[in-house]
């Protein structure tokens, strides 16, 4: 029996490379100033969905929310085997916190429809909150299985999942549809397939059409190009708030209950300190002081 999956993925700033220009004055991230990557655990989520598809059949739809350049992670999803990719982008949703983001994603998943499983990474490396998955599940009215490491069984509308927690392993059974957040230890995400990279190299959103028309003037019009890409499954669909019927009061900064009051750079404070010589007598003096001060 085939199972349809929706995978929620995020393009994230590579937080290992933060510089001073990376923050806006309002405390939000200036994403443009950082290299952008596929959130690592979202790749594990995609891999799990692709394995379900390979074993049981069904479609894998990959959905992301972000600025137009977030389409890059959707191309990568296509190269790895996604059937359909959708970019939600709308300036009015910029600055959304996890609550507002999960509302948008809930609406988008509902518009995709006809799903058995929703997958996402356990957490994104830019926020490390691990909140969006459970919040989407709550809004969709789905059960959630966080920290999923393996699907042990999938049949008759039921799923058995092994969860990897820091100090325990738990195996749970649950009815479909449900939402899984996937941990890094779940699998080794496949690399992009060379064959699919060739097949999907034209994959584009309508934002890319003007540039594509310059490179391939033979298409003459955007309509002709759109028709060509759609027929071959190479169009990266783009949705905005109107397509989802969003209540704009629930998105963006206005729809986000949390506010960043301030962001401080971590500064080191020198403390009152004592230096001891690096020899037998210096070390002995240190140990004696620790003992006398009841530290040891």
């Amino acid at each position: 029996m085939p199972y349809n999956s929706v995978v929620l993925v995020k393009q994230v700033p590579d937080t290992a490379h933060i510089t001073g220009q990376a923050m806006n004055d309002d405390g939000t991230v200036n994403r443009a100033a950082l290299p952008a990557i596929f959130n690592p655990e979202d790749l594990n989520a995609l891999e799990m969905a692709l394995q379900v598809k390979e074993q049981y059949g069904g479609r894998v739809t990959v959905l992301t929310m972000g600025p137009p350049r977030a389409a890059d992670v959707l191309r990568e999803a296509l190269y790895r085997g996604a059937d359909r990719v959708i970019l939600f982008t709308d300036r009015k949703t910029a600055g959304s916190d996890t609550q507002a983001t999960s509302y948008v994603l809930k609406c988008a998943v509902e518009k995709v429809g006809d799903y058995d499983l929703v997958f996402c990474g356990r957490q994104a490396i830019d926020g490390d909150t691990a909140q969006v998955g459970p919040q989407v599940a709550e809004k969709l009215g789905l059960p959630q299985i966080t920290c999923a490491e393996a699907i042990e069984e999938l049949r008759e509308g039921q799923i058995v999942v092994r969860r990897a927690l820091p100090l325990s392993t738990e195996t749970v059974r649950c009815s479909l549809p449900c939402l899984l957040t996937v941990v890094a230890s779940a699998n080794r995400p496949r690399p992009p397939s060379a064959r699919r990279m060739m097949a999907c190299k034209l994959a584009a959103t309508p934002f890319d059409y003007p540039e594509l028309l310059r490179r391939w003037p033979e298409f003459e019009t955007e309509t002709a190009l759109d028709h060509y890409l759609t027929e071959r499954g190479l169009k990266i669909e783009v949705w905005d708030g109107t397509d989802l019927g969003l209540e704009y009061g629930r998105v963006g900064l206005a729809g986000s209950p949390t506010r960043v009051l301030k962001v401080d750079l971590v500064v080191l404070h020198s403390r009152d300190s004592k230096t001891f010589a690096a020899d037998e007598s210096g070390v002995a003096a240190l140990v004696q002081e620790l003992v006398q001060e009841y530290v040891l």
Partner: protein, 338 residues
């Protein structure tokens, strides 16, 4: 009852033992509630957990909402969320705190989503303060303070327009208070109502691994970093820890280099510790590491590099090679008649 000023704490327990972070949070909640002129209310779900209610009161609760039900024996998202969501809707607490444990981080977003509350994950500090926006001043909000961007920044988050103000709080960062056995409080029994969908998920198996190292409760920690140089040299760290009756910890770099296993890692992505004494050997003191240990009461740093950032937070410094200094420390300690 002062609804709207209550500070709630979710009490996480397993097999009759309360998670340490829940007790830590009771102390913090007590401090916040006293500042707000409100009460501390603990939500205690489980099966056969009534005997824990007094302990919860001793650690600072004025009122315990006791949800004792067989379906709550093991933690499962939906039954626990049902209990919490119904109570939050009815009673509208000002603040709701949960430990940033796997359970807390599974449950908190579910509750926040249902009641449209703001939620900050993995806080390392909580305070009360004012907030001004567009000419409007909000008094006595919860400052939810957490590291951001790999520990390079500290963000202060507020949730001015929604209640409750929710946060999950990292284990080990709030001081565990002393229980006061003379404290009195009210225990209120809650009768949970579940629907069949809440109870659909079944836990088939559960294997608990005992932590091999207990850094969180250690009084003395000896930690090694890249400067230790090799797995063989790391034996020195173990020896010093053994002599001092302490535990062994490591920086991420030392773990990544394979000197020691990951459960010893202290820092942003490891454990947060606050021992009486932290001896950092060959640890440069990256922000990542300091985030997990800078609350230690006393810090000794041993490093060959006099400019290593660890020296900026150390109370006692030795610029030198740990390979000669550690044996000297062991000798000196034994000569103290210890």
């Amino acid at each position: 009852m002062t609804a709207g000023r209550e500070v709630w704490v979710f009490i996480e327990q397993e097999e009759g033992r309360i998670a340490p972070v829940s007790l830590e949070l009771l102390g913090k909640a007590r401090e916040l509630a006293d500042r707000l002129g409100g009460q501390v209310c603990a939500l205690l779900p489980g099966d056969g957990v009534a005997p824990l209610a007094q302990q919860v009161i001793h650690y600072g609760a004025d009122r315990v909402l006791l949800a004792d039900h067989p379906e709550l024996a093991l933690y499962r998202t939906l039954p626990y969320a049902r209990v919490a969501i119904e109570l939050v809707r009815q009673r509208k607490p000002a603040i709701f705190l949960l430990g940033a444990t796997p359970v807390g981080r599974d449950l908190a977003p579910r509750i926040a989503s249902a009641v449209s509350a703001g939620l900050t994950a993995d806080c390392t500090d909580l305070r009360i303060g004012d907030y001004e926006r567009q000419g409007r001043v909000y008094h006595d909000l919860l400052y939810q303070i957490r590291p951001a961007f790999g520990g390079n920044m500290i963000a202060t988050i507020v949730t001015p327009d929604s209640q409750p103000q929710m946060a999950t709080v990292r284990e080990g960062v709030m001081r565990l208070g002393e229980p006061d056995r003379r404290r009195h409080g009210v225990v209120e029994r809650i009768e949970p109502c579940f629907n069949s969908r809440d109870l659909d998920l079944q836990v088939l198996r559960r294997e608990v691994r005992l932590p091999q190292v207990d850094l969180k409760n250690a009084q003395v920690i000896v930690a090694g970093g890249m400067g230790v140089g090799s797995k063989e040299n790391f034996r020195l760290i173990h020896e010093l820890a053994e002599v001092l009756g302490g535990q062994v910890a490591a920086s991420r770099a030392a773990v990544d280099a394979g000197f020691i296993s990951p459960e010893h890692q202290v820092g942003q992505t490891g454990v947060t510790v606050r021992p009486r004494l932290y001896i950092a050997c060959g640890i440069s003191g990256a922000v990542q590491h300091r985030a997990g240990m800078d609350q230690s009461a006393k810090i000794v740093a041993i490093n060959t590099d006099p400019n290593a950032p660890i020296f900026q937070i150390a109370h006692y410094k030795i610029v030198g090679d740990l390979r000669t200094i550690i044996p000297q420390m062991i000798r000196a300690y034994r000569q103290q008649g210890r």
